[in-house]
Amino acid sequence: MSQGGEPVAGINPNPSENQVTYVGQPHASSNPYLTTPGPQVWRPPPQPAPTSWSYRPENPSTQNGYPSNYYYDPQRDASAPSHTQSGPSPTPNAQLQGYNTPYATSYQSSVTPHNNSADYATRFYSNANINSSSLQVAPNQNTGASNQPPFQNSVGHTSSTTMSNSNIYYNASGDHQNTATTAPSYQSGGYYYQQTGQAYGYPSANQGCTTVNPSYQQQYGQQYYYYNHPAGGTSVGTEGTMPGGANAGSHPGVAAAGGYSYPTNQPPPPGTSSWRPDPGTPTLPLVQGVGATGYPAQYPGQFQAYPQKPADQAPASAPALLLASNNANQGNAFYSQTPNMHVSSTNQFQQASQLSQPQPQPQLQPPPPPYPVQIPDTRQIQGSSQLHRNMVQMPETRQVSKMQIPTNPRIAPGLSTGTVKVDRGSISTGGPAKPAYVSVTIQKNETKLTSPAEDADKGAIPVSLRAYVERSFARCKTDAQRTANQALMKEVITKASAEGTLFTKNWDLEPLFTLPSGDATNTNSTQESTIFSSLNKEKRKSRWEPVEETPEKKVELVSSSTNGGPSNIAYSRPEATPKLDGENWNTMKFVKAQKQSNFSSSGRGSFKKQRTNSFIRKPPENANSSSDSDKERELTKYYSSAISIANTPEEKKRREHRSKRFDKRKIEGSTPNNSSSILTRKANAMLLAKNYDENSGTDRAVEDIDWDSLTVKGTCQEIEKRYLRLTSAPDPSTVRPEDVLEKALKMVQTSNKNYLYKCDQLKSIRQDLTVQRIQNELTVKVYETHARLAIQYGDLAEYNQCQSQLKRLYAEGIKGCDNEFSAYHLLHVCIHSNNKRDLLSSMARLSIKSKQDEAVKHALKVRAAVSSGNYLLFFRLYKAAPNLNTCLMDLYMEKMRFEAVKSMSKAYRPTLPVRYVAQILGFMKSSEEKESEITDKSGFEDCEQWLKAHGAVLKSDGSGDLQLDGKASMTTLYMPEPENAVSHGDASLAVDDFLTRAP
C-alpha cells in the first residue's frame, strides 16, 4: 500500500521536525518524577495548550464525560486529583471534557437503559476500542503502525490477564455474582460475553468506538493509567502484557481490557490468584470457536510478537520504565524499518478481522497526515502496542486520539455529531501540539503511569527525590549522559513507586547511579536502548521474573495452540519493531539532549508545560470512525468477513447500522431493521433488569410493563453453561430454552463433579429460567436440587436463596416437595438464624396437614429439643433424621455437644464414663443398635478426642474405663476456635479452602 511508502518518508522528516518538540514532550511527561533540570529548559511555554491537553485533562474529562462509568470512578478520581496537582493547565481539561461528553451521549443512546451492564460493556469496549483506535492510527501513518494495533490489543489483554489473575477466585467460586460491583464480577462478565456472544461484546465496543473514538481513547488512556497503577508499574504490568496475549487469544480483547481495569481499581484480594483458571480453560475453547471470526488472527499476531521480542518479554518483569524504554526502542525500530510495511499490513488485516476494523479503515480512508506527525504517531502506537505495558499505552492513546481527531472530520459524516465536535476540538489542540513526538515521551509517560504509586504520588514528588534527580542530572556532562540518566532516573522512580518507597526512601542518601558513557549512548542509540532495556530487565527480573514467567508461558501456549497461521504474520512484525526502535531511540536522544540544554536554562515552571506539550504533539490523522465502523461491521458478520473489510464506501453503511448491530448483538435474531423497536425493548429490559429478581414473583411495581414482550426466548442449545451475573439484557443466543434446561438439570444431577461446579451450573440454569420467566415444576425442581446440594455442602447462603424462591413458587401452587423444604426451613431458622419471630411465623404458617409430614414433625421435634436444650433428644433425632435434615443438624452439632458436655459436667458426680458420653452425643451408636465393634471403637476415640479438644478432664478409673471428671471439667471446658475459621467469617470464601476443593 501507499502507506508503506508514506511511513518511510515520514520517518525521516520526523526526526528533524518533530524531534525537538517531541523530545520536550517526553520530558514533560516523565518530568513529573524526574522533574528538574534538562527538560524544563528545553520546553518553552509556547505550546501550553497542548500540554494541558495531553495528560491530565484526560482523566478529569473522563470523569466528567462518563457518567456511566461508575466503576472506574474511584480510580479516576484518584488519578484526576493527582493530575490536577501535578498542575497541567486546566484548559486542557475542558477540552477533554468536551470529548467525553459526546462520547457519553452517543454511547448512552444505545446503551443507557441498563446503566450498569451497558457501561460495563462499553468500558470493555472502550478499552478495546481504544486499542483499535490507536491501532488505526498506526496503520494510517505507517505500515508498522498496523502491526502495532495488534499489540495494543494485546496490551489490553494483558492488562486484563493480570486483572484476571486477581479475579480468578471469584469466577471459580461463583461468588462474583453476588459481588457484582466488584472487579471480579466484571471480569467474569467480560469473559461471559466472550463466550456466549463474543461478537456481542465487540460490537458494542465498536459502536462506542465509532461514535466516541476520541473519548474512548481518552478513557482508554485513563484506564491504562489505572492499570499501570495497580500493576505497580513494575513487573506486574509487564506480566500483564505477556499474559495479555494469551488471554487475548482466548478472550476478546475487550473483555480483557474491562477486566483489567476493574481489578486495578479494586484490589480485590481474592481476585488476584483466581482468575487464571478461567481464562486458561474456558478461553481456549472460545478462542478456537472464534477463530473463524478473526479474533484468532489478532491474537496470533500478538503472540508471535511476543516471542519475537524476547528481550522485551523477558524484561516484562521490568517495571514500566523498562517497558517504556523497550517501547521506545521498538518504536524506533519500526520507524527505520518502514519497509516492514507489508508485515504490518498483514497485521492490519488481522486486526481488522479482529473487530478492530478501525485499523483497516483508517489506513484506507484517512489520508496520511503530515509525515512527521504520522511517524510520531506510529512510534507511539508501536511503543504502546509493543510494550503493551500499560504505561506506554497511555501516551499512545493520547497521541492516537489527537491523530484521530484530524481524521475524524473527514470521516465525520458517519460519525455522530458529538464525536465530530470532539474531534474538532481535539484537532485544534492537536494541531499545535504536533511537534512532540516520541519514544522518549512514552517513557516519561510510562514513568508517570507506572508510578503506580497512586496518583497522589505522582502529584507530589518528595522534595528529596527531586533533589536526588537534580543531583543525578547535574553530573551529566553530555546530552547522551543525560538521556541515559533520565532513563535511569525513571527506572529508579518507577521502581520506588512500585515498591511504595517513593516517599519513605531517604533520597538524600540514595547513591547515584554510575553514568553510562555519553558516547556510547549517542553513537549507538539503538544498542543503548536495548542495553537499557536489558539492564532494566535484569534488575526487574530478579524481583518480578517469577510472576512474569507464568503469564508468558501461558500466552505462548495459547498462541501456539490456537493460532498457527496468524502467528507467522505476527512474527514478521516484531522484527520490524526492533529496527524502528533503533531509529527512534536515536532521534529521541538527540531531542533529549537539546531539551536538556534548554531545560537548564528555563525555570521549573516551564517544565510542566513542556510536559503537557509533549503529549499534545501528535496530531495523527486517523479515521477513528472508520475504524470503529469496521469493527462493528465485522462484529455483525461474526468476524467472518473481517479480513476483507476496510472498504471506505461500505463504511457509511456500516455506521448507519451500527446501533442496529449493537442491538442485534444483544437480541439475536432480530434484524437490523428492527433496531428501533429493539432499542426500546432493550431499554425497557435494561431498566427492569435490576429489579427483575426482586419483582420476579410480583408484577405490582411494574404492572404497566408488558413482560411478555420483554421475555427472552432462548436459543442456546448448549447443555453446559457457566453462570455469570447478567449485567445487561440477556442475549437469547446464550439463553437455553426449557427443554435444554431440563437436560442441563439432569446433567447436573448425574454429574460427578464437585459442588462448586454444580452450583455454577445450577445458577446458570436458574438464571436462564428467570430470564425466560419460566415458573413451573422444572423451576421448582431446579431450586430444590440446588437447595439440597447447598444443604449437603453447607452452603447456607445459596440455600437461603433457593429457599426463598421455593417459598414463593410453592405459594403459587406449583407442586414440589414443599413439606421437605418447610422442614428445612424450620430447622434453618431455629438452628441457625435464631430469630424468634421468624420461627414463630414459620411455625404459624404450617398447615395441619403439613404438620403430619414426617420431615416436618421431625423438624419440629428438633426445634423443641434445641429450644429446651435436650441434647439426648437432639442426637436421637439426628440419627432418625429424614431427608437432609441431618445435614442441617450437622451444622449445629458442635454447639449442641458442647452445651451437653457443659451440663453433664455440672450435673454428674463424680464421674461419667466417656463411653456413655460418646453414645449420648452421637459419637457412636447406642447399645441396642450397635452393629460393629469397629465403628464403635472409632466413635469412642472420636469422642475422647473431641472431649480433650474442648478441655474436658478425663481420667481412667480402676476398671480401665475412661471417665469424664465432672467437677474438674466444669471450669476447664471451652469452645475451641474452629480450625477453619477465617477472618472474614466465611470459610467457604477462603482461597486455600477453595483451592483444595476445586478439582
Binding site: R837, S841, R909
Partner: protein
Amino acid sequence: MAAYLSLAESQRRIAGYLHRFVDAIARQDGATLRPLLAVSSGASLLPISDALANFPDSSRLVTQSDQIAQFAEILLPLLRSIQSHRLRCFAEAYSSYEKAANAFLQEFRNWETPWAMEAVHAIALEIRLLAEKGDRELASVGKSPEKLQAAGSFLMKVFGALAGKGPKRVGALYITCQLFKIYFKLGTVHLCRSVIRSIETARIFDFEEFPLKDKVTYMYYTGRLEVFNESFLAADQKLTYALARSDPLNMSNMRMILKYLIPVKLSLGILPKMSLLKKYSLMEYKDVIEALKTGDVRLLRQALQDHEEQFLRSGVYLVLEKLELIVYQRLVKKIYIIQKQKDPDKAHQIKLDLIIKAFKWLGIDMDVDEGECIVTMLIYKNLIKGYFAHKSKVCVLSKNDPFPKLSGKPVMAS
C-alpha cells in the same frame, strides 16, 4: 342524602370547611384543625363529604381566594381523599391523603412552635388507619397491599421532623407508637430498633416528659419486643410500667398488656391469681398455670397444643414452651416432698426410676437416658441443687434448698 343537598348548600359547606381550615392555621389553633383532618374517624366530616359528592368543582373553591389557595397543596388532595373515603375507595383515599399529609408536613416544619402537634398526630393516626383500610381493599381484589408500608415510611419522615431538639420533640413518641403499630402489623419489627434508639439515646429529653398515653403505648410495644428477645427481666419491667400506668378500667388495654406480662411473669416464677385471668378473660393461661402449680407436664403440653395457634400468633408460644423445665422441677419436687413424708432421712436421694415412673404416670414414656438427660438439664439450669450419680442412677439433692425458687429471676439461659 346527598341528592337532597342543594348546590348552594354544598358549596356553602365546602367553603365553610375550607375557611375553618385556613382560619385554624391562621389562629394556630391545633384543636380546631385536628378534626378537619380526621378523614376516616371523624363524623364531623360527614357533611362535607356529602357536599363534595354533590359539588363537583370543589377545586375552584380552593383556588378562588388567595388565602385558601396558599394551602391548595394540602387542601386539594385532602378534599379528594375525603371524597374517595366517602366512596369507600380506600386505596385512593390513602394516596390522596398521603399527598395532603406531605404538604402539611412541609408547612409544619416551618412553624416554629408545636401548636399543630395535635393535627400532626391526627394525620399520623389517619394515615395509618387509611393505609390499613386501603390494604384490606387491595388484598380483597388480589393486589399486593403496600399502603401500610408507605405509611410507615411517611411516618418516619414525620418522626424525623419531630425527633430533633426543640419543642416539637414532645410529639415524637406518639409517632413512634404509630410506627410500632405499623411495624408489628407488617411483621417488620426489626425496623423498630432505629426509632427506639433515637428515643432512648437522646438525653436531651427526659422520657418522663412525654405524654403518659404515649409512654404506656411505647412501653407496651418495647416490652413485647423484649418478649421476642426472651429477655424477661426487661420485658417484665416495661410491661409492668405500662400496666401500672394504664387505666385499670380500660379492659382491653389491660388485657393486651397482661397477655404478654403473664407469660413473662410465669417465666420468672410468679403466678397470677385465677381471678385476674377471669377478670381479663385470659383463660388460655389457666392450664399453663395449673401445670406449673402441680408439675403436670401433660397438662402443659395439652394447653400448648390447644392454644397453639393463638400463642404462636401473639408470639408467646416459645416463652410458654420454655416453662416445661419449671414444670419438671415441680414434678421432681413433688416426688421429693412425698419421699420426705415417708422417709425424711433418705429424701434427698431420688432414684431415677421414681422420676421415670412419675412421667409414665402422666402418660409420658421415657427411658433411663431421657430421664438422666432431664435431670441433668434441671441441675444445669439451677432448678435443682445437687448432682446425679450415673452409676447408681440416683439424683442426690442438696440438703439446703434443693429446689431454688426463681422468685423473679429467669431460668438460666442455655
